[in-house]
């Protein structure tokens, strides 16, 4: 009479799950990046589209190549490789040769992710690893900024976009020099010249594809926040500490240093604070750790921008704090319930 019931599963509790899944979380980031990506197309035309697509292609192809066959279905399904490619693409200058964008996508995934054991195991933000690699490898191409073409010349392409693989952008002369412009950060660093805040908000300045429009980035951030897709402490901590630091500098010597508002709206500050630093894999998992991390990023950005050699320091600030994340996590373990204080 006593028989084992073969039809019954024996999965252990809990059987209930909340609705969010990892691929869905990644999709949310895609949606949040949509306005900024569309703005890139609006401002920079077809070139932007091509750069974004090639960097995504480089990332996805590398992911596919180096993932063991049996895990491909899962890793490609989680949307993360393509997201890395898109994030990288948004940090690139519009006139970048496409082969470099492709290589950057490969470096992002190869050096930033696969080597470490795939999604979730990496210490550094893969997109920024790709960008740091490109910036160190092709410093000239990566700091050549072109003026916006605007929607009227949507189809215009930069000759440099189509450079042959491993070759330089074809023309370096008066023709291209006329097209290149300085980003707001360049103007600030080297000429101590501010940029109209309205332009910074809307995004009709030069810069990397996804960083120009502060307004649309904030919009994406709000969407992500509402979807619980980001740890609000990180953007808040970064922007807050950066604003305080630059406000202090501005008060000391106003004609030399930028206003805090300029600091927050210019360059990759918002793109980094909202979309890069908040990458959960590479930021601390504990709330206290998130604050420390964010403050560290904020201070480092201003330090590098103001006292360092680069006009923009967001990428380096995030990478450096990524490196410190294991330590931060270790020393900010939450105080376990009923225990005196946090132990390491």
């Amino acid at each position: 009479m006593s028989k084992h019931d073969p039809k019954l599963l024996l999965q252990s509790a809990p059987l209930l799950r909340q609705g969010m899944t990892t691929p869905a979380a990644m999709r949310d980031v895609w949606i949040a990046l949509l306005p900024a990506s569309l703005a890139a197309l609006w401002y920079f035309g077809l070139a932007a589209l091509l750069v974004l697509l090639t960097s995504i292609a480089g990332a996805v192809l590398t992911e596919w190549l180096f993932t063991p066959r049996e895990r491909r279905a899962i890793t490609l399904h989680d949307n993360s490789a393509a997201l890395t490619g898109l994030l990288l693409g948004l940090t690139l200058p519009p006139a970048l040769p496409l082969w470099m964008a492709f290589l950057g996508g490969m470096a992002s995934i190869g050096l930033g992710k696969i080597i470490w054991g795939g999604l979730g195991s990496n210490i550094f933000n893969p997109a920024l690893v790709g960008r740091a690699f490109l910036l160190a490898t092709f410093p000239n191409a990566m700091t050549t900024w072109t003026a916006q073409s605007g929607p009227a010349d949507f189809l215009t392409l930069h000759a440099s976009n189509l450079a042959l693989p491993f070759m330089q952008a074809p023309t370096v002369g008066a023709g291209t020099d006329a097209m290149t412009t300085a980003t707001p950060l360049n103007l600030m660093k080297f000429e101590h010249q501010g940029t109209d805040l309205g332009a910074l908000l809307l995004g009709n300045t030069s810069g990397s594809l996804g960083e120009t429009s502060a307004l649309l980035l904030i919009l994406g951030g709000i969407y992500l926040f509402l979807r619980r897709g980001l740890d609000w402490r990180i953007p808040l901590g970064i922007l807050g500490s950066a604003a305080l630091f630059s406000a202090a500098l501005f008060l000391i010597e106003g004609d030399k240093y930028p206003t805090p508002l300029f600091s927050l709206l210019s360059g990759g500050m918002l793109l980094g604070a909202i979309f890069m630093a908040t990458d959960p894999v590479t930021s601390p998992v504990t709330p206290k750790g998130a604050w420390l991390f964010a403050i560290g990023v904020g201070l480092l950005v201003v330090l590098i921008r103001v006292f360092g050699g680069f006009p923009e320091g967001m990428m380096y600030a995030i990478l450096l704090m990524n490196a410190a994340t294991p330590l931060i996590d270790r020393y900010t373990q939450p105080r376990a319930f009923g225990r005196k204080r946090a132990t390491k």
């Binding site: 700091t143 050549t144 660093k189 080297f190 000429e191 050699g309």
Partner: protein, 221 residues
């Protein structure tokens, strides 16, 4: 694999230990002194030639030079000995007239310390040439401070009164302005700053016109 020692292990006396160390040290010293003596002439010659080339590069129309030293009060002749921060070189033309001084100066660059040698004519507050002795600036960008001829020639005739400034490439208009290298503004500025510091340091020390040190030995190049 290990070969066993044929003799039973025996504790050598301390004096033997010290003795063998001393012998080793002595022999090593002999070898080192030997190679030092053997190569000294070539090395000295190499260094002198290198220095001469550098000095001739930064001072136009110079054919002879001599080493000087600031001793705290004035500039005196220094025949040989180690170079230090108070060493400078005077360059002379065919006729033995002073053409200018070659001054070394260093300071932080984009990556590491940059050391430059620049030709200076105190009489008309002019830098007449610049040569980078040492730098680890970024290849392809910062290294243009010595690889980019257009940048180097900026310093061929540059007024130091008021101090030199860098301007955006192509906008050079005044006598004290230097065209920065596109994409390597920091390195360009570093070179200018290093030269300004050098000028500031040396301007007061150099002898007044008329008191210039004479070329001591004729024919010495």
């Amino acid at each position: 694999m290990s070969s066993r020692s044929p003799t039973p292990p025996q504790e050598p006396t301390p004096s033997r230990l010290v003795g063998s160390l001393a012998v080793a040290g002595f022999l090593s010293g002999l070898i080192i002194i030997g190679i030092y003596v053997a190569t000294l002439d070539t090395i000295t010659e190499n260094k002198a030639r290198e220095l001469r080339e550098a000095v001739f590069r930064v001072l136009p129309e110079v054919t002879q030079m001599q080493k000087l030293q600031y001793d705290g009060e004035r500039v005196v002749l220094k025949e040989n000995g180690k170079d230090d921060e108070n060493t400078l070189y005077a360059g002379y033309d065919d006729k033995g007239n002073l053409a200018g001084y070659a001054l070394a100066s260093d300071g932080p660059g984009f990556q590491d310390t940059i050391r430059v040698l620049f030709g200076y004519q105190p009489a008309n507050n002019k830098v007449v040439g610049m040569w980078v002795l040492e730098s680890r600036e970024t290849p392809g960008l910062g290294d243009k401070i010595y690889k980019d001829a257009a940048f180097v020639t900026n310093f061929d005739n540059l007024s130091t009164e008021p101090p030199i400034v860098t301007v955006k490439r192509g906008t050079r208009s005044r006598a004290n302005e230097v065209d920065a290298i596109t994409g390597a503004t920091i390195s360009s500025k570093a070179v200018v700053r290093i030269i300004n510091q050098g000028v500031e340091k040396w301007h007061q020390r150099l002898p007044l016109p008329g008191n210039e040190p004479q070329l001591k030995s004729e024919g010495r190049t």
